[in-house]
Symmetry: C2
């Protein structure tokens, strides 16, 4: 398919020709939307809705409000960053248009060595890493305090989402920011009233946010976040306030600029443009709206139509009959919940991604939406468990294993039964970047007594794992679930059962064995084994879904004939499953070598194949590493 | 020394004789204070100030407000718990006086199989485990939701501290509790205006908390929390509110009931009765005030004076010249900060416990108090580091490694330099219980790339570790520091240097080697080695202060002559240092056995010696385990 970019030459021309700041911002914002749309379409994923809702605000800020002194005074530059972070495609598009980022990067969104899916300080003009929510005000206060200590001048503009206000850290930060009169900090709430799945008011109504901010000691203004005049006035007002931090509630529209992206679907009450990439048809329709508006405005100003760059992008590869673990979970949960009336499902604003919609529709009374408030969700699960319910707490693994880390431990000390469901687990997808690549949950939670961690490797094992957690485990479980659809090159035996601490051989081999878990790494392991077979090396492949328990006797027996064992973690090597396997062997002194593969540095952002290769976790790298270690004395 | 308890017989008599609820509560509260004072004195530690500020509130609640239906209707009982948790001695004293706990337990505060330092559900009438702050409202909502699902009736009374309101999770919970009209939940803020070190308004002023709660949709009342009439009226009012949750701001006095415990010291601006146990003189003075008041009131009611039980408690053992790691840290920080102007110290309301008072006094501008808001503190540290400062973030290890777990990771992804200081690390002291016994920080943080974890074993190593982190490490460090004073039975070489991943042999031995870290475990290891020497087993003892990195080459060389290696973690065995040692050996296939000792279950609460023994981590247990494993084929 074809996508169209507004080239830098055209943007520069407009920046020179249009003198009226409001007319200029209107045009630039439209152009930045065009390029954001093309970038996300080319990348194959990204956050359109929030990019579009924030784009007018940042256009005004970066072109009219922020001060960037000359080189001598550079230390006094203003700082902008987005706390929600997933609106970064809009910022990239703007930075490229303002020549603060190389134009060539426009084609490298979510690619290796390109523009990460969430902000990262390795990119010029990105002030801080965001993506996990709620950290922005605290980070700005740290920066502002450093400025104060060094007698630097500068304003700090932080954009937050409205759903983001559900995060407790925000409210922690507000108090001390007001108490210390950080008037150099301006928070702008991109109040588009829709969070990842649907309306904020349906997920976790914020109530009167103006009153909330006022009660926390902040100067509050509210305006239309798409009205440049109103934005100008709001910031003018803020300049007169020098004794407290300021917050602008900017009323915006998610997906603003493309008519059909501005609404929650009336059909299923879901917002369709939070993440992902538009189809060919949707791209074309959105492009048509935007280009028409831009050219109309240009005509009004007696300027020429935009000359666009056309780029051909390859069609998305569709997988043949992939396994979808999230769908299997969704389906099995519904079945189990029919008979087990104690089951209560909790969500932290991710009903779609956690496969919870069927459950929510079928058992609305047993479904609890906590909003983006993982700590609240997990402690609420604790309360439910204390009173006899079986709570299932859902989120992305990266958030669930870390944000409510102490809350999960606290629940475990009560020795009640709770099931935690961590989706988007592991290194892939590589596009969202390290804030979303959950590669340390074994470490973060694995030592908790009474919490058993399992990672299923296919749909069948998802169902088995859920049954095991609900029916067999007396204490708590954490199911670590890969979210990307996977074409699998292995099967589990049809009579396969989950037995605590034991795995299953899914490919025979007499020379060495590799232990892995989850669909991504097992697929690479099988491929590696097939490659190695071609050169006469027989590598057995084991699926060991138990992430933090190992049946030592089974393991000893199973590995008796191997003198070399490999482990393959979809996780940091350090404090992952491989370490536990080594320890299991060390006690027995069975005289085997163990080589552990896994992540050794913070995961790169990029296409899935790029990321696997970069970290030497693709099958080719595995083949090389196996060969190399087999040769060692 | 002697302490005096009001025996159950006396309490029962008063409960029968005094009919006026307000007179009764006055008397009971005074008696509960007397017994709380004796319990904490006998235990040797506990939280007096907050127990005394809350005791009038809970006396009124448990005797006048809460409904405990008969057995048939038991499912509809009201529930009370304290979210702050450290006021639990007051609750124990009350529960004992109301015959809801065995009277004998009065002498078992903070002892094994006794009454834990923070609430635990294994104790009758304790509704949930608290101690980590901010979880109460969410837990109550979980319980209330379970009641709703089961059509049970009941009110939920949650007590919180005022400092506790600085925790973000509180604010997460308020929104959804209001949105779902949980009018069965009443939050009572024990607003004593003093947090662990000093005045709340100096740590992190709460501003207008009534307005804050109102803006979050809660029904708000405020009253004197020591005036039973006012408490009665407040709860009467709340019974008329059926469409939203309620919060009572109870104005209280920390240490209420004992004149000299009611004030922050004017000398050093510190509150002296937050935790710890009173001396003989202070006990006596406090007792005198309380008993005089109780007897006066009894006289007014024409009732006999209280007949007390006298208990002799052993004098506190004073250690001979113990090492105090916190003091060494405090001192060395001050020295380093003199030359290194980039150093900024952040605190989460623990200046005293983290040795920060000298720094704060000397460099007020480079000291930042964030209040009980660890997430805010850590992200603020991130902001400071991004702008060239060297932030040192301080808290108890149990909180620092878990509450801001995602924030520490987020900072690490920016690859700036931050130093985290986790105090109260490890299994001891055993008195506060599992919420404060930090035995999973290696696991919780150890896999983060660019975060090096070190645990110093004596004052000398504390100083070296701080220098290493400030001067040698380019990235971030986590110093895990034991807070109890320790009598050490080993020394480090005077020319000892910290070299990344390497340890030091502190006792020779040819038969086997044990690797440990920190003063508690190394002391036990040395004692074990000395015991074993008596039966001809020579056990070498190594101090390996690097918790998440091991120099494989050094390790291989150092352990060449040993076929059996023991590891001793002041941490869960699972995902502790022992696992990393096993992995280091597994790659080399050196044919050694490794046996790892450490925690295998949630730590018990009790006296230090009891707790070590219970978990088989005292030297005698280590001797037995070493002998047993040396005998294995």
């Amino acid at each position: 398919m074809e996508v169209y970019y507004v080239p830098l030459k055209e943007i520069k021309k407009i920046r020179q020709q249009v003198k009226n700041p409001i007319e200029l911002c209107k045009l630039l914002a439209c152009i930045f939307r065009l390029n954001t749309l093309a970038m996300i379409t080319e990348a194959g994923s990204g956050h359109l809705g929030t990019s579009f809702s924030s784009i007018d605000i940042i256009t005004w800020l970066w072109t009219q409000e922020m001060k960037f002194p000359n080189q001598e005074q550079e230390k006094n530059s203003d700082i902008y960053f987005s706390s929600k972070g997933h609106d970064v495609p809009a910022l990239y598009s703007l930075l490229i248009g303002l020549e603060r980022l190389d134009y060539d990067l426009i084609h490298k969104l979510r690619q290796l060595n390109g523009l990460p899916g969430h902000p990262d300080v390795n990119t010029p003009n990105i002030a801080t890493n965001t993506g996990p929510l709620g950290m922005g005000v605290a980070k700005a206060r740290g920066m502002a305090k450093a400025y104060r200590l060094d007698k630097r001048q500068g304003n700090f503009y932080v954009l937050s989402g409205d759903g983001e206000l559900q995060e407790g850290q925000i409210w922690e930060s507000l108090t001390q920011t007001a108490n210390n009169n950080f008037s150099e900090i301006t928070l702008i709430v991109d109040h588009n009233k829709i969070q990842s799945d649907t309306w904020v008011k349906e997920v976790s109504d914020l109530g009167n946010i103006e009153e909330k901010f006022k009660s926390f000691g902040w100067e509050v203004k509210r305006c239309d976040g798409h009205d440049f005049n109103a934005l100008r006035k709001a910031f003018e007002h803020f300049r007169t306030i020098t004794d407290k931090p300021k917050v602008l509630i900017a009323d915006t529209v998610k997906g603003k600029g493309v008519s059909f992206m501005e609404e929650v679907s009336s059909e299923d009450n879901l917002y369709k443009f939070h993440s992902g990439a538009p189809s060919k048809e949707i791209y074309q329709a959105a492009f048509n709206e935007l280009i028409e508006r831009a050219n109309k405005q240009l005509a009004k100003l007696n300027l020429a139509e935009l000359k666009l760059d056309k780029v051909n992008i390859p069609e998305k590869v569709t997988l043949k009959d992939p396994e979808k673990l999230v769908d299997a979970y969704s389906d099995e949960l519904l079945k189990i919940a029919k008979d087990n009336k104690d089951i209560v499902a909790l969500s932290a604003d991710l009903v779609l991604d956690c496969g919870l919609i069927p459950f929510k529709d079928k058992y609305p009374n047993r479904f609890i939406e906590c909003g983006i408030a993982e700590q609240d969700m997990v402690s609420m699960a604790g309360g439910l468990a204390l009173k006899g319910k079986l709570p299932l707490a859902h989120s992305f693994a990266c958030f669930l294993s870390t944000r409510p880390n102490e809350q999960i431990y606290n629940n475990a000390t009560e020795r009640k039964k709770i099931i935690y469901l961590g989706f988007l687990a592991g290194l892939l997808p590589g596009g969202p970047g390290h804030s979303h690549q959950s590669v340390r949950d074994i470490s973060a939670l694995g030592s908790i007594p009474g919490l058993t961690m399992i990672q299923p490797s296919n749909e069948q094992e998802v169902r088995l794992a859920l049954h095991w957690a609900v029916e067999k485990n007396n204490l708590s479980s954490y199911l670590r679930i890969v979210s990307i659809p996977c074409e699998l090159n292995y099967e589990l035996p049809s009579d396969y059962e989950l037995i605590e601490g034991r795995g299953v051989k899914i490919k025979e081999g007499k020379d060495a064995a590799i232990f892995a878990y989850g669909p991504v790494m097992l697929t690479e392991a099988i491929k590696a084994s097939e490659e190695l077979a071609k050169i006469g090396v027989e590598l057995a492949v084991y699926n060991l879904p138990w992430l933090n328990i190992i049946d030592h006797e089974w393991f000893k027996k199973e590995t008796k004939t191997y003198s070399i064992i490999f482990t393959l973690d979809d996780h940091y090597v350090k404090l992952g499953q491989g370490n536990l396997i080594s320890s299991a062997l060390a006690e027995g002194n069975v005289g085997k070598k163990v080589f552990s593969f896994g992540l050794r540095e913070i995961p790169a952002c990029g296409r899935n194949d790029e990321v696997l290769k970069y970290h030497q976790l693709d099958y080719k790298s595995i083949v090389n590493k196996v060969k190399e270690n087999l040769r060692k004395p």
